[in-house]
C-alpha cells in the first residue's frame, strides 16, 4: 500500500467510523425526548426506564462520536495539509459555527445525563431536545463543508490563487441543500431501523415485552417515516448531481457513453477497460427521465470526460446500487408496517414483520456508508471538484501506512468494545428494568 492510498483509506475509515456515532448522536435524543415526554405525561415508569436505558447507550456512543470527531479535525490537516491550507479559510465558516453547536450540545448533554431528579422535569426534558436540535444543526453544517468540496464556490481561482474569498457564499453552495437534507433524513432512517431492529429482536425472544414494545414503536415510527421520504430526497440529490457533477453521475450509473434516451442500469458488473456493463438489467429511457424529467434527454457519459478525470466506476456504481437497493427494501418494510398499523393494532404478534425489522437492523447504516462512498469516491480524482486533485493535497510525510494501521487497530478495538458494551446493556435490561411491566400495568 503506498502512502497516498493509505491516507485516503485512513480518511475513509475515520469518517466511516465517525458517521455512525454522529447519526446516533443526532437522532437518539429525539427518541428519548419522545419517551421522556410520555413519561412526564403518563408517569408510567416504563417510559422512564426506556429513556434511561437509551441514554446510557447514547452516552457511550456520544463519547465515541466526540473523540472520533476530534480526531477528524486534526486528520484533515495531518493527511491533507495542502488542501487545508487553501480550503480552510474558504469552507471554514460552517466549522466555526459548528463549534457553537457542539458546545451547546455538550452542555445540554451534561444537563440531560446528570440532571435526573435535580431540575424541574420540563427543563430537564428540554435540555434533551436541545441535544438533538444542536446535533442536527452541527450535522447540517459539516455537510455544508463537504458539499463545498463537491461544488466549490465563494472564491475566484485565478492562476492557482484563491482570491475574493466569501465564506458565507461558500457555505451556501449549490450542493448544500440536497446533501444536508438527504443526510439528515438518512440519520433518522438508519438509527430508527437499527434501534427498532434490536427491540424487534428482543420481542421475538419474548423478553420484557412491555419495555421493548414501546421502544420499538417509537423507533419504528421515526425510521419508517424517514425511509418513505428518503427516496424522494435521493431523487432530488440525483438530479442535482447530474447538473453539477456529470462525471459522478456517470460513474454511479456506470454510464460509459453519452446518449439520448439513456437506460437506467440496475446491477451488473462494470468493465472499465471494455467500457461495458455485463449482466445488468437495463430499463430504456429511465435514466434520462430520472435525471432530466424527459425520457429523450441526453445524459453525459464518461466518454465526454477526460480519462484522467474519471472516478473509479465500479466502486461508485456498486455503492450506489447498494444504497438504492437497501433504500427500496426499507421503503417496503415501512409501507408494510404502516399498513398493518392501519389495519389492526396487534401487529406485535406478527412474527414475520418483527423478523423483517430484525433483519433490517444494519441496513440503514450500510446505506449511509454506501451513500458516502458514492459521494466521496465519485468526486475522485478531485479533492476540491475541478480545482485541486486529491493526489496534490496529501501530506509530504512518508510512512502514513503505519498511521493507517494504527488507526485501523484503534477503531477496530473501539468498535469491538462498544459492541460488547451494547450487548451487555441489552442483556441487563432484564434485571435492571424488569419491574416495568407490572408497575406500569398497575398504574394504567
Amino acid at each position: 500500500m503506498d502512502d497516498f492510498l493509505a491516507a485516503r483509506s485512513q480518511m475513509a475509515l475515520s469518517l466511516g467510523f465517525h458517521i455512525i456515532f454522529a447519526c446516533i448522536g443526532m437522532v437518539m435524543p429525539f427518541f428519548m425526548a419522545v419517551s421522556h415526554y410520555y413519561y412526564l405525561k403518563t408517569k408510567k415508569p416504563v417510559y422512564k426506564n426506556i429513556t434511561k436505558a437509551w441514554s446510557k447507550g447514547v452516552a457511550i456512543f456520544f463519547a465515541t462520536g466526540a473523540v472520533s470527531g476530534t480526531a477528524l479535525s486534526f486528520e484533515l490537516g495531518l493527511l491533507w495539509p495542502e488542501f487545508m491550507k487553501h480550503a480552510g479559510p474558504i469552507f471554514g465558516m460552517p466549522f466555526s459555527l459548528e463549534g457553537t453547536a457542539f458546545f451547546i450540545e455538550a452542555i445540554a448533554l451534561g444537563f440531560f445525563l446528570y440532571g435526573w431528579d435535580k431540575f424541574n422535569p420540563w427543563f430537564h426534558w428540554f435540555t434533551g431536545v436541545v441535544v438533538g436540535v444542536s446535533g442536527i444543526i452541527s450535522g447540517i453544517l459539516v455537510v455544508a463543508a463537504n458539499a463545498w468540496m463537491n461544488n466549490p464556490t465563494g472564491f475566484d481561482y485565478i492562476n492557482g490563487q484563491y482570491i475574493n474569498i466569501d465564506p458565507i457564499k461558500a457555505m451556501f453552495n449549490d450542493a448544500w441543500l440536497s446533501q444536508a437534507l438527504h443526510m439528515s433524513i438518512a440519520a433518522f432512517c438508519a438509527t430508527g431501523f437499527a434501534v427498532a431492529g434490536v427491540h424487534a429482536y428482543m420481542l421475538l425472544k419474548g423478553k420484557n415485552k412491555e419495555f421493548h414494545r414501546k421502544s420499538f414503536r417509537i423507533a419504528a415510527a421515526f425510521g419508517c417515516i424517514a425511509a418513505i421520504l428518503q427516496p424522494l430526497s435521493g431523487d432530488f440529490s440525483a438530479k442535482d448531481v447530474a447538473k453539477r457533477q456529470p462525471a459522478k453521475l456517470a460513474a454511479m450509473e456506470a454510464h460509459f457513453y453519452t446518449e439520448k434516451r439513456a437506460p437506467l442500469i440496475i446491477g451488473g458488473i462494470p468493465n472499465e477497460e471494455k467500457q461495458t456493463v455485463d449482466y445488468a438489467l437495463k430499463i430504456p429511457g429511465l435514466l434520462s427521465f430520472i435525471t432530466h424529467g424527459d425520457i429523450n434527454a441526453e445524459v453525459t457519459g464518461l466518454d465526454q470526460i477526460p480519462k484522467d478525470e474519471h472516478p473509479p466506476v465500479a466502486i461508485t456504481h456498486y455503492a450506489f446500487q447498494i444504497m438504492v437497493g437497501l433504500g427500496m427494501i426499507m421503503l417496503l418494510i415501512s409501507i408494510l408496517y404502516f399498513y398493518s398499523l392501519w389495519k389492526k393494532h396487534n401487529l406485535m404478534d406478527k412474527k414475520w414483520l418483527l423478523k423483517l425489522f430484525a433483519i433490517a437492523t444494519p441496513m440503514g447504516y450500510i446505506a449511509v456508508e454506501a451513500g458516502w462512498t458514492v459521494t466521496e469516491v465519485g468526486r475522485q480524482p478531485w479533492i476540491i471538484y475541478g480545482i485541486m486533485r486529491t493526489a496534490d493535497a496529501v501530506t509530504p510525510m512518508p510512512g502514513i501506512v503505519y498511521s493507517f494501521y494504527l488507526f485501523t487497530a484503534i477503531y477496530l478495538s473501539l468498535s469491538f468494545i462498544v459492541g460488547f458494551m451494547l450487548y451487555r446493556q441489552i442483556k441487563m435490561v432484564d434485571t435492571l428494568y424488569d419491574i416495568s411491566e407490572d408497575l406500569s400495568n398497575k398504574q394504567s
Partner: protein, 336 residues
C-alpha cells in the same frame, strides 16, 4: 477583527489549560494514588468532572478550528512537522475519553473496569505530556522546514530535551490544578487532607520540572529567560505567579476552596501570559530563525471577519449556558 480572533484563540488555549488541565490532572492523580484509595479518588473525580468533561475538550476543538480557518498556513505547518506527536496526542484523547465513559456506563462491573482504569490513567498522563511537547516545539526553533531527511523533518522537530521538560511541566501543572480543584469537592476531612497532600506534591513537581525547563533552555541556548524577563509584563506576571504560590502554600491548610482555586488558576494563567506575551504575535519560531506571525499569516479579511462574528455570536450562547451548567452542578453536587 483580527484581534477578536486572536483573543479567542488565546482564551481557548487558556481555558483548555485550566479546565481541560484539571480534567487530565484528575487522571494523573489517580495514577499516583495508592491502590487503597484509588476507588475513592475515582468516585470524587467522576462526580466532579463527569458533567463537564465533554464541554472541556471543546476548547481544544475551538482552538483548532480558529487555527485552520484563520491561520491556515500555521495549522498546516504544524500538522506536517508535528504529525507524530499530534497522532500520539490524538490516540491519548481517544483512549481517555472513551475509557472514562466506558468505565461508568458499562452495565456490568467486572474485570473490564481494571482495563478502563489503566487506559484512563495512562492516557491522562500521555495526552498533556505531548501537548506540552508540541507547545514547546513551536517556540523553540526546532522545526526545520528545509530539512531533507525524515528524522530532522518529522522527528527532531519535536523530540528534544527542552520539549520533554516542558511536557513534564505541563503534566505537573495539570495534576496540581486537579488536586486544588478537587479539595473543594471532597466531603470528609480525611479526603481533604489527602488532596491537599497531593496538591503540595504536584506543586513541588511543577517547581522542579519548571526549573528543569529553565536549565535545559539555558543549556540548549534557547533564550527563555530573556523572553520572560526581557519585558515588564512577563516579569510582573512571573512575580505575581510566585507571590500567589507563596500565598497558596501559606493558606492551603485553611482549606478555603474558592480562594485556593483562584490562586491556582491565577498562577497558571500568569505563567501562560508570561510565556506568550513576548512572543506575540509570533507563534512559531523556525530553525532558520524565521518567525511565523499571526498577523502576517492571517487569512483573508472577509474570512477573519466572518470567523470573529461566528465566535462572538457563539459565545453569546455558550458562556451563559456553560456558566449555568457549572454553577448548577456545583450547587446540586453539594446537596447530594
Amino acid at each position: 477583527m483580527i484581534y477578536v480572533v486572536i483573543a479567542f484563540l488565546w482564551a481557548a488555549i487558556w481555558l483548555y489549560l485550566l479546565l481541560g488541565g484539571a480534567d487530565f490532572g484528575a487522571g494523573i492523580l489517580e495514577l499516583f494514588t495508592s491502590d487503597k484509595n484509588k476507588s475513592k479518588t475515582r468516585k470524587t473525580v467522576y462526580r466532579v468532572i463527569g458533567p463537564v468533561w465533554e464541554a472541556n475538550h471543546m476548547w481544544l476543538i475551538i482552538a483548532i478550528v480558529i487555527l485552520f480557518v484563520g491561520f491556515p498556513k500555521i495549522y498546516t505547518l504544524m500538522s506536517v512537522h508535528m504529525h507524530i506527536p499530534l497522532v500520539i496526542m490524538l490516540v491519548g484523547i481517544i483512549a481517555r475519553g472513551t475509557a472514562f465513559t466506558f468505565r461508568h456506563y458499562d452495565a456490568v462491573v467486572d474485570d473490564m473496569q481494571v482495563v478502563y482504569n489503566k487506559i484512563f490513567q495512562y492516557s491522562s498522563f500521555i495526552t498533556p505530556f505531548f501537548l506540552g511537547i508540541i507547545a514547546a516545539s513551536t517556540v523553540s526553533g526546532a522545526i526545520d522546514t528545509e530539512a531533507k531527511d525524515f528524522l530532522s523533518a518529522y522527528v527532531y522537530s519535536w523530540l528534544n530535551w527542552f520539549s520533554i521538560a516542558v511536557g513534564l511541566f505541563t503534566v505537573s501543572i495539570c495534576g496540581f490544578l486537579a488536586a486544588i480543584f478537587i479539595i473543594g469537592e471532597t466531603d470528609t476531612e480525611e479526603d481533604k487532607r489527602r488532596f491537599i497532600q497531593k496538591a503540595k506534591f504536584m506543586n513541588i513537581a511543577a517547581v522542579i520540572t519548571g526549573g528543569l525547563v529553565f536549565i535545559i533552555a539555558y543549556l540548549e541556548g534557547i533564550p527563555l529567560a530573556q523572553w520572560i524577563f526581557g519585558n515588564p509584563i512577563g516579569t510582573i506576571a512571573i512575580s505575581a505567579a510566585t507571590l500567589s504560590l507563596i500565598i497558596l502554600w501559606k493558606t492551603i491548610d485553611k482549606k478555603n476552596a474558592v480562594q485556593l482555586r483562584i490562586l491556582a488558576g491565577f498562577q497558571v494563567s500568569m505563567i501562560l501570559l508570561s510565556l506568550t506575551y513576548e512572543h506575540f504575535p509570533n507563534i512559531i519560531l523556525l530553525k532558520n530563525g524565521e518567525y511565523l506571525s499571526l498577523m502576517e499569516y492571517q487569512g483573508e479579511e472577509k474570512t477573519i471577519a466572518a470567523l470573529a462574528w461566528a465566535l462572538l455570536l457563539g459565545s453569546l450562547f455558550i458562556l451563559p449556558a456553560l456558566y449555568y451548567l457549572i454553577y448548577s452542578f456545583q450547587k446540586k453536587g453539594k446537596v447530594h
